[in-house]
Amino acid sequence: MNSTIVLMIIGMAIVTYIPRMLPFLVFKGKELPPFLQGVLKNVPYAVLGALIFPSILLIQEGNLMFGVVGTAAAFVIAFLGANVILVVVGAISVLSLYSVFLM
């Protein structure tokens, strides 16, 4: 093992851990103001929106259609009420069929 690389990995580990653990230290046992609590409760759904768009459409460079087909498949399957695993497996299957037969 190269000691510079190991040093780099340890540094990366520390700076990645700090933002993950800091809120648990800072907010420990504190009652936050209601507005801030409300914002923090909103965060998961806003994060989901930002994680999905626009990245989901761009999963294959230079082939927007691939992303569009995958996005449509995922949303349709999810709207039909399937659980998360089925949405994942279903979207992968649709894209596999699409790339084997239509591309």
Binding site: M8, G11, L48, G70, V84
Partner: protein, 240 residues
């Protein structure tokens, strides 16, 4: 009583493992590719697996490889990692409200397992979430990430090309699968996601912001705007 309590804990943990299964599947192609790229970048297998074990953050690990490849210094790589991963602060802050009260050392322990994916799976659950559930979600995700990084180092393209390409949808499909049930129940959730998704797209296409910062900014603006609207309309405090 003692036995009852521990069964409860085991089942929380088991539910967590089940909840994290889609993450484990989704991490597979990403981690396999990471392992393969790490080898072509010149890392040893120990370094590759060590990075996945200690850092456990996909985007940052990929970026570090491309920086190593162009000969960037380690201080710059570490700084870049920090900037890419600062978005987890927002997620941890949100989770600290969502998870049941527990001993500080346990919180500091599971804080390590917070990623975009584990965060979303844990936080869309109704009500307070138990520690056991969170740890279950994180453990199966972590296992998949670390093991597949190592496997990818040796066999790289283990999956046929069409499947590898199709599997890049996995994590996004998971996000969709997590979001849609809540959207059907709540207009507010739909607004939050649509506003954040639109803002993030605009920021990425029109500014030089990195992906991480763009997500942070889009999320914060959307969460604050929707909260302000709810406040002005007076109540309607939903807790979905």
């Amino acid at each position: 009583m003692e036995a009852l309590l521990s069964t409860k804990k085991v089942s929380d943990f088991r539910l967590g493992l089940q909840g994290g299964l889609s993450i484990a599947i989704g991490y597979m192609p990403v981690a396999l590719t990471f392992g393969l790229l790490a080898r072509t970048t010149g890392l040893t297998v120990t370094e590759t697996v060590l990075m996945s074990m200690l850092v456990f953050a996909g985007a940052a690990q990929y970026i570090s490889l491309s920086l190593i490849a162009v000969g960037t210094g380690i201080i710059e790589i570490i700084l870049t990692t920090f900037i890419v991963n600062i978005r987890h602060f927002l997620m941890s802050a949100s989770l600290s409200e969502k998870l049941e009260e527990d001993r500080l050392f346990k919180k500091l322990f599971y804080a390590f397992g917070i990623t975009d994916e584990t965060f979303t799976v844990i936080s869309v659950k109704d009500g307070k979430v138990r520690t056991g559930f969170a740890v279950g979600v994180m453990l199966i995700s972590y296992g998949s990430w670390v093991v597949n990084s190592g496997v990818g180092y040796f066999i790289g393209e283990i999956l046929p090309e069409f499947l590898q390409a199709s599997m890049t949808i996995a994590l996004y499909a998971m996000f969709v699968g997590l979001l849609v049930p809540s959207m059907k129940k709540s207009v507010r959730v739909t607004f939050l996601a649509v506003v954040a998704g639109a803002l993030n797209s605009i920021l990425l296409f029109t500014t030089n912001l990195s992906n991480g910062w763009s997500i942070v900014l889009a999320t914060l603006v959307s969460a604050v705007i929707v909260e302000l609207v709810v406040m002005m309309k007076g109540g309607g405090r939903a807790n979905e």
